[in-house]
Symmetry: C3
Subunit: 234 residues, 3 copies
Amino acid sequence: MLTSLQENILSGIDDKDLRVIIIAAQGPVFSSGHDLKELTSVQGRDYHTRVFRVCSEVMTLIQDLPVPVIAMVNGIATAAGCQLVASCDIAVATDKSSFATPGVNVGLFCSTPGVAIGRAVPRKVAMEMLFTGRPITAQEALLHGLVSKVVREECLEEETLAIARRICDSSRPVVALGKAAFQRQMAQARDAAYATATAVMVDNLALRDGQEGIQAFLEKRRPLWTNSTEKAHD
Amino acid sequence: MLTSLQENILSGIDDKDLRVIIIAAQGPVFSSGHDLKELTSVQGRDYHTRVFRVCSEVMTLIQDLPVPVIAMVNGIATAAGCQLVASCDIAVATDKSSFATPGVNVGLFCSTPGVAIGRAVPRKVAMEMLFTGRPITAQEALLHGLVSKVVREECLEEETLAIARRICDSSRPVVALGKAAFQRQMAQARDAAYATATAVMVDNLALRDGQEGIQAFLEKRRPLWTNSTEKAHD
Amino acid sequence: MLTSLQENILSGIDDKDLRVIIIAAQGPVFSSGHDLKELTSVQGRDYHTRVFRVCSEVMTLIQDLPVPVIAMVNGIATAAGCQLVASCDIAVATDKSSFATPGVNVGLFCSTPGVAIGRAVPRKVAMEMLFTGRPITAQEALLHGLVSKVVREECLEEETLAIARRICDSSRPVVALGKAAFQRQMAQARDAAYATATAVMVDNLALRDGQEGIQAFLEKRRPLWTNSTEKAHD
C-alpha cells in the first residue's frame, strides 16, 4: 500500500501539466494506518524497520513534492492515516470525519504519527490524542489546525476541487518554489529563514512567470503562464 | 514548595504500578507562582538563581517523567502556576479557571513561564499575556491549546479521572517510550525526528507488551499487559 | 515606505518615555505590501534583493525593539502587509478586517511573508493562505493566533489604547528585558531556553524597578518606576 502510494504520487511528477494531487479514499474509512498483521514478531526487527522507513519516506515525500497535496477526508483517519492527513499541505474533511492516534491502546504508541501531528496542532492537543487514543471531531481538528476546512458530505468534492482549481490558476514553478521555500525556512531560525526566503523572492521575480504575473497585474489582464522554469532575466 | 513537589513527583517513580500523576490544589487558587518575599534584594543573586533553577528543574522534570502528568485546575493559575499548567502533558480545567502571567505588573517579567507558555500557545497569545498580564479565561486557554479540556466544576474530578483511567488501561513501558520519544523528536528537525520515531516504533514492537497488544487486537480480546520492559524478541 | 517606517520606529527608541509603538493606517487598507511596479525586470536582481532585505530588516527590527509594537488594523492586510501584522507583538483588528497572502495569484509566491505567518499560525492555515491566496476573516485570524483581539470598528482605538496604557503602567527596562528574552529563548531548545530565561529573571530582580515592584506589592501600594536600567544590587 505504502509503496503503491509512493509510486502513484511520483508518477508524472515532472509533468508540467500536473499541478496538484488529491488523496482520497473510498468507503467510511480514510485510512486506519498500518496493517497490524505485518507487525508481529514473526516478521522481525528488520522488516519492521523497513515498514516504518517507507512510511516516513512517503510522509516526507508529500511535503517535498513540487505540487501541493490535498487530503480529501470523509470518515475515520487513525494512526498513520491521521499522520497522512497531518502531512498533506491542505486537508478538507466532512463534518462526520474523525481523527485519532489509538496505537497506545494496542501497545504500539503512535510515535511516528506524533512527528507530523506534533508539528500540526498545539502540543497539548497532540499529547492528549497520543496518550489516550481518544478521537477528535472534524470541528476540533479544524480548531487546532489539523485540517484546513470542514464541509458537509455533499459538498466535499466541490470544495476540494475549488481549492485545487485555485491552485491550477497559478504558475507551477512559482508554486513549486514557494512550497520548497516554506518547508526549508520553517526548519530554520528566524534570521536564517528570512535569508532563505529573500533569496527565493528574488529567484521568483527572475522567472518568466514571475514577470508575466506582475505585468498582467499592472496591465489589468489575466496572466498567461508558461509553467516552465525559464528565466525572464538573470 | 518546589522541592517538596519535586520529591513528591519522583517518589516511587520507578514503581510499575505508578501509571499517571495528577497535580491538583485545594482552594480557589491552583497556584500563583513564586512567593515574592523570597525574591527581594535581601536574599541576593545566588539565592535567586537557585530558586529559578529549581523551578525550571521541576517544570522540565514533569515533561521527562516516564508517566503522563495531568494538571487538574479549578481556579487561578498565574506566573509559575500558569507555567506549571503549560508544562503538564494534559490539563483539565473548570470553566471558572483563569490563567495569567502578571509578573510585568510587579516589575518581574514572567520570562521563565514564557518558555513553557510560548511552546504551548500561539506566539501572539503568549506575548499579549506576558506584556499586559491580562488573565485569559478557561475557554480562551482551551482555544489556544494551554489546556486540553474545560468542564463544569462538578465534573472536574470525574473527567480528570476518566482520562487517568484511560492511561492506566495502557501498558506503562509503551507510554513511557512514547512520551520520551515525543519530547525528543519535537526538539529535532523533521527528518531527524522521523529517524528518532522510527527507531522507537521498532523498539516498541520488540517489547513483550507491544506484541501482546497486537496479538490481543488480532484475536479480538483485551490485552494482558506485563507492564515490564521485557522484550518479546530482539 | 519601508525606509521611512524603519526611521520612524527607530526615532527616539532610546527615550525613556517611549513605551509602546502603535502601527496604524488611514483608509480601508492597512497595507497591501510591496508596490509591484518596483519589482519588474527593469529594476533588476540587485534592486529586488535590496527591497526584500530592507523589508526583512523592518520586520525583524519590530521584534527586536525594546518596546512592544501593536498593529491596529482596520481593513485589508495582504502580502507584506499581512507579514507586518504577523511581525508585531500584539495585533488588534476590527471585525471587517481581512488577511491574505495573494502573491501566488500574480506569480510572486509570498515566501517572505511566510516566515512571519508560518511562525504565527498553524502550518496548515499558513499553507492554505499561501497556496490559494484566499483571504481569512478577522475571526479566523483570531482563532489561529494571527491577531490578539477582534473588536467592532467604533471600539478599535479605545481597545488598542487600553492595551497600550496597560503596557505604559509597567517599567520600561522590565518590558525590554522580557521582550528580548522571549524572542531569544523561543529560538532555542527547551533546556537552553530555560537557562536563558533563568539568567534573565535574576537580572530582572537585580534591577531597581524589579525590587521596587516587589516592595510595592508586599506593601500593597502602587509601584513608582524609575524606568532606568539602574541596578538595586549586584
